[in-house]
Symmetry: C2
Subunit: 375 residues, 2 copies
């Protein structure tokens, strides 16, 4: 149902891209991938980038080419899109619940017998039902127990529950029990380095206790996976985690920039922008053609990339009003302005296309194929 | 690129709809349409519902069947979708700027010679350029001058500017000069009745001054259009406006419910919901499978439709956590919860489908065809 129009053609100058448009700066994006690759090599940790932030197979393929073992997704619908795009190692870092979705999951696993498809569980009844469906469908699945390591959201909380679920997984001939999903999501945006480090030390202790309990019960625990852009160096250094799942590092946003940077962590650059056009101009006021349907505001207003103007509060659905604060940057009708989103994930999820730009020229236009894959 | 899956099949019970899903309650929706029709008849004012809130041709067609003269949209891409769906009277209540978009607009007008397609202008250079393109394309357009009546966003501010633009419009053989677009957007959510009434009285005075100037210059001003869900009864009563443009009235949201209701205005009911599934349950905590990618939070958290639980702050991208506050409503894994969005427009824009439900059964599943038509 998308419009037939794409916002740019190859070779376009940035200022000729139709607006609003989502922009990825390829030089910065590639530098971010390279920084993560180097850091992970230094820690000898596996990287499974989280694709929920970008929902774009072209980006996922570049993350895998830069050393990723596969990708993470959050939704079954995302797994469908990424598997269909040819990516053959996908972990749903989330529970899948309900008859309709469990059938879809078993069918998806059956449809890609040569791919690795993983999912998390935190409930015995769901685990057994999924096992029954996978046996009936002759489908194979990697299954992880989700352990709540401080997120207070999903996951079991005690080693005994982990062991109970692991036994149920091992008992299913169509499941491979992989280990633990142990993601401390709330720790990613704690601003200070000591708080983030302490949160992950606590998470790693909890994960290690669960692993010890699994081993005592003669159950394998090959993988402990978790860790986002804000904390992955701590998971990597923990000697407990075997895999990290950063997502936002590739695109970045101003919310992550507000974190105090650990001296041992790589500095990722903002590679994601919303390009907006000046559609009305009056006195010291410029109105842009992008609003709440072009960027998310859950983590604050977007940031201008030029001086002399400020973004007014309460943007509307399709407009952002700027007020001039100095004459540093003259603006005329039809000019284009780059905004840095405050939160990359829900911003990307608003767009059908991402325009890939290098040194001011459009090099590619990628469909955001898993946009809206919400269920 | 959307997933092949739709969240429901006809006849499904609400609790079997896949989640998260956008739900429209047909009884409430139809009652809202009827209330607007009756109110508009009482004031003898034309209604042109704004389709930016729902982006769904099936909804727009029902609004027109309930007395609408056509629809409003905010974006060129939306106009393309609605014209293609068979709706033949579309006003873009916004400026269209830039060579690429102006060409698209002229082409669109040419493609639907029997439709009425309107657009707003607030700049002389853009008006002339659009006129040249329409002449070259042999395309006809309805053109409105946008007058800033307090929104401080787009539009000209003085009667002299209105007259200057109107002359340029009349001078173009392919344009029909329609009159004024005079929308006081910021007034819609002023909470008190006196503030909203005063804002529209001021807007109507300004529009009337501009109309007087047009008449003095021997220019027509057949239409003065504006007015949203929060204020349209004041525009309707003004003796100045000839057309109102409410949009949210059809679906509603909790932000509009927070307005003090004028005794003379109809009471619209919330007809829009996000259905979310309980995907994890632990102690007094239930985690829903809907987050920032299923509802917008620019106007606050969504509201639960049942007692005994509250929505925790800072929902994540794909999760909402509920805490139990009393034992009024027991919840079990896989249960479905209805949430009322705080702001309908950006919430609808996240979804590909809207599931139309009557008395707990799915009656239709409509594609939100203009979702993401952002440019």
């Amino acid at each position: 149902m998308r419009s037939n129009w794409v916002p740019a053609t190859l070779g376009d100058r940035l200022q000729d891209v139709d607006t609003p448009a989502l922009i990825i700066d390829l030089d910065r994006f590639e530098a971010n991938l390279e920084r993560l690759r180097e850091t992970a090599l230094g820690y000898n940790i596996r990287v499974r980038p989280h694709a929920k932030s970008h929902k774009c197979p072209e980006i996922a393929k570049r993350q895998i080419a830069a050393g990723g073992v596969g990708i993470c997704v959050q939704k079954l619908g995302e797994a469908e899109v990424f598997l269909a795009s040819g990516i053959d190692n996908v972990l749903i870092t989330n529970e899948v619940v309900g008859e309709r979705k469990l059938h879809r999951l078993a069918q998806l696993a059956w449809r890609y017998p040569d791919a690795r498809l993983g999912v998390c569980v935190d409930d015995l009844g769901v685990t057994k039902r999924l096992g029954t469906l996978c046996v009936a469908q002759e489908a194979r699945l990697d299954v992880y127990v989700e352990l709540d390591v401080g997120q207070n959201r999903c996951g079991v909380t005690t080693p005994a529950e982990v062991v109970e679920l692991a036994r149920a997984i091992v008992a299913c001939p169509r499941f491979t029990f992989m280990g633990l999903h142990a993601y401390a999501g709330g720790a990613q945006h704690r601003r200070g380095v000591p708080e983030r480090r302490a949160a992950i030390e606590a998470a790693a202790r909890k994960a290690n206790e669960a692993r010890t309990a699994l081993r005592a019960a003669d159950l394998p625990c090959e993988t402990i996976t978790g860790g986002g852009t804000g904390t992955f160096i701590y998971e990597a250094a923990s000697q407990v985690y075997s895999e990290i799942q950063p997502g936002s590092y590739a695109l970045m946003d101003t919310d992550y920039l507000r974190n105090e940077l650990d001296p041992s962590a790589p500095r990722f650059e903002c590679a994601l922008f919303v390009l907006a056009g000046v559609m009305s101009l009056r006195g010291n006021r410029a109105t842009l053609d992008a609003g709440l349907k072009a960027y998310s505001t859950d983590s604050g207003l977007p940031t201008l990339t030029f001086a002399g103007w400020r973004v007014l509060n309460n943007p509307s659905d399709e407009h952002t009003v700027l007020h001039q604060t100095s004459d540093e940057t003259p603006i005329k009708l039809g000019d284009k302005a780059l905004l840095i989103p405050s939160h990359c994930d829900p911003t990307v999820n608003l767009h059908d296309w991402i325009v890939a730009v290098r040194k001011g020229r459009v090099e590619a236009v990628w469909p955001i194929e898993a946009r809206g894959a919400v269920f």
